[in-house]
């Protein structure tokens, strides 16, 4: 009997799917996902949409932070760039989503690379600083460039449309978000089977060694930042289509920190981790909301405290995960899976 995973060739080692079973399980899971909205209530459709968007953003951030080892605190701003690009293009020129979504990604990628340039010459922490600055500078531009962004009042976004079909409900939008998320995740997964992806990982592990081995550190760091910001821009674009009205308040600095929380809790340097983390962080406030409303009968003050509870639990989750499970949910998932794979002989 086969107990465990045995890879006997490089091809098996490089395969996207570990086994035929994994491929089939994924196919069933995807069919389930496609069927999900037919059974979900309006509330859960909204949550599902947000989860899908968060997954795209988290995967993008994980490419930069988890795989390339660069820390970005400006994710909220790059989301905003994506969202506002979509808003401006679709409200002003009435462009359909196959044009606006990639353009939003590109706009965010350019913004990201622009702020990346000064810091990429330096190591680690400086990118965090520069992206923090990017957050405030982009925020300033968004508020003051009123003709394009609507300033503090925000801008309304027409529904995503193509050939007269309008994705004007959470239900319909889901069928844009889901395939996009799958495609982008697939791309990310594949990226790390290529030379480029391996260069990213080499830079994360030791930049000087990477340079010595012939990786152009500056170029690949910039590329990682561009790819990552592209993902985040796409997420921002979808966010605009979902919210239908965006204003600077939609993109506080804490949003960027939420995304960092996702990849920390999910697992750095793991595509699966991005998914799990995005699901966890998006569901956390919903679960807390259910819990507080259930408990509000016995503790009436709880509802007013909800905002602080949400923030506190988020922070606590990050701190506890970092102390007790630094590799995140993805590592936990692997442990559980391996346990069952070998059950009952778990040694």
């Amino acid at each position: 009997m086969r107990c465990g995973e045995f890879r006997t060739s490089y091809a098996a080692d490089m395969a996207i799917f570990e086994s035929a079973f994994a491929r089939r399980a994924l196919a069933v899971f995807l069919v389930g996902l496609a069927a999900l909205p037919f059974f979900a209530s309006a509330y859960w459709l909204d949550v599902l949409g947000r989860i899908g968007i968060a997954i795209i953003g988290a995967a993008g951030l994980n490419i930069l932070t988890g795989f390339t080892g660069q820390i970005s605190l400006g994710n909220a701003a790059f989301l905003a760039v994506g969202a506002y690009t979509t808003a401006a293009l679709s409200s002003r020129f009435g462009l359909p989503f196959p044009v606006t979504v990639p353009l939003s990604g590109l706009a965010a990628a350019f913004a990201g690379m622009f702020f990346g340039i000064p810091s990429l010459r330096l190591k680690g922490l400086y990118l965090a600083m520069a992206t923090l600055a990017a957050h405030f500078i982009i925020g300033f531009v968004v508020v003051h460039w009123e003709s394009a962004t609507g300033g503090v009042n925000g801008i309304s976004v027409p529904a995503a449309h193509l050939f007269g079909v309008e994705l004007d409900s959470d239900f319909r939008l889901y069928f844009l978000v889901l395939p996009l998320a799958i495609a982008l995740l697939f791309f990310a997964r594949n990226l790390f089977r290529t030379k480029v992806g391996k260069a990213f990982v080499a830079i994360r592990d030791h930049d000087i060694s990477a340079e010595v081995m012939g990786v152009n550190v500056f170029r690949y760091k910039l590329l990682a930042f561009g790819v990552s910001s592209f993902y985040i821009g796409v997420a921002g674009s979808l966010l605009a289509y979902q919210a239908r009205l965006i204003s600077p308040e939609n993109f506080p600095i804490s949003l960027g920190i939420d995304y960092l929380g996702m990849i920390i809790i999910g697992g750095l340097g793991s595509i699966l981790g991005s998914i799990l983390g995005a699901v966890f962080i998006t569901l956390l406030p919903e679960v807390l909301r259910l819990a507080t409303s259930a408990l509000s009968g016995s503790y009436p003050g709880l509802v007013e405290l909800f905002a602080s509870i949400k923030m506190g639990v988020f922070g606590l989750a990050i701190v506890l995960f970092l102390i007790f499970e630094p590799d995140g949910l993805a590592a936990r998932w692997r442990t559980i899976r391996n346990y069952w794979k070998l059950y009952p002989f778990s040694y």
């Binding site: 932070t65 080892g69 820390i71 702020f115 000064p118 810091s119 010459r121 330096l122 190591k123 680690g124 922490l125 400086y126 965090a128 600083m129 520069a130 923090l132 600055a133 990017a134 405030f136 500078i137 925020g139 300033f140 508020v143 003051h144 000087i208 010595v212 600095i253 804490s254 920190i257 960092l260 929380g261 920390i264 750095l268 405290l305 905002a307 602080s308 509870i309 949400k310 923030m311 506190g312 639990v313 988020f314 922070g315 606590l316 989750a317 990050i318 701190v319 970092l322 102390i323 630094p326």
Partner: protein, 295 residues
């Protein structure tokens, strides 16, 4: 001209507080190589605790100030022991994230206890302005600058003169060498966190008394400190002081002159524009040690 002087003065007051908070930031970075993104929350918490001691127990300001500093020492020690120590040796991102998580928790605690409304901070300094040349200056400003100068002088003396201070500098220079000289690096880490908490709390209290109110926006000052330390150099105490004053004056001047032209917000964004420019021109700041890596 009057406007200019007024703006410069405001800048110096705020800048001196930046310098104080940046000092805490730099101390933590030097000793432990951690960027503490919870610095602003230390500051906010300090202001709230001081306010609570003053209003709840009717303690005079000076004693409340001292008690708050005592509280901050304990806070710094506890956080270092519970949260930061398990992460020694973990990658940079983990440590940065833990301070971000910490900032979230502290903010939540403050909001949970004191709510989000602005609370008036008792008038601790006399309101009659002092005439300083052509300029009427509020006494709170002068006291604030005096306090900051005193604290900065004390800490400079501490770093130069005392055993603990020298041990801290040694640890900052090289942890391994410090260990081999019999310095307890863990104790130094704890010490630097409590010093950072103390200077931030002091900054928070002074800021609250200058502004006359306490609210969640105080936490924002923790982020404002980042341009300061980048300008001064991440690992330079002198840089923190110079950087604080420069950024304070810069944001007030740019706010005062440019805000009417573009309609607000310049004051908040100017330090960050400066940050990007500094990273382009002189990435290690004015006094920072240039990092050279040899393999």
């Amino acid at each position: 001209m009057e406007l200019f002087l007024q703006l410069v003065l405001n800048g110096l007051v705020v800048g001196s507080i930046y310098a104080l908070v940046a000092l805490g930031f730099v101390i933590i970075y030097k000793a432990t190589s951690i960027l503490n993104f919870a610095q602003g929350e230390f500051l906010m918490l300090g202001a709230y605790v001081c306010l609570a001691i003053m209003t709840r127990f009717a303690v005079p300001f000076v004693w409340a100030f001292v008690l708050t500093l005592g509280f901050s020492v304990l806070l710094g020690l506890a956080l270092e022991r519970i949260v930061l120590r398990p992460l020694i040796g973990e990658p940079v991102i983990s440590v940065i994230m833990v301070t971000l998580g910490l900032s979230s928790v502290l903010k939540a605690i403050v909001q949970g206890i004191w709510g989000t409304d602005t609370r008036p901070f008792p008038q601790v300094f006399s309101t009659t302005p002092v005439q300083l040349g052509p300029l009427p200056v509020s006494q709170g400003y002068l006291w604030s600058i005096a306090c900051v100068t005193l604290l900065l002088a004390l800490f400079t003396a501490f770093f130069r003169g005392t055993r603990a201070g020298i041990a801290m500098r040694a640890t900052a220079f090289s942890q391994q060498v410090a260990l081999s000289m019999g310095i307890s690096v863990k104790r130094i880490f704890a010490l630097s966190w409590s010093i950072a908490a103390v200077v931030s709390a002091a900054g928070g209290i002074l800021l609250a008394s200058v502004r006359g109110g306490v609210d969640g926006s105080l936490a924002f000052f923790g982020l404002k400190v980042i341009p300061v330390v980048i300008l001064g150099g991440l690992d330079s105490v002198a840089g923190a002081i110079v950087g604080g004053l420069v950024i304070g004056v810069l944001e007030n001047l740019s706010g005062g002159y440019l805000d009417p032209l573009v309609g607000g917000g310049v004051k908040e964004v100017a330090p960050f524009v400066a940050l990007v420019l500094i990273l382009m021109v002189k990435p290690y700041g004015l006094f920072g040690k240039v990092h050279i890596e040899r393999v």
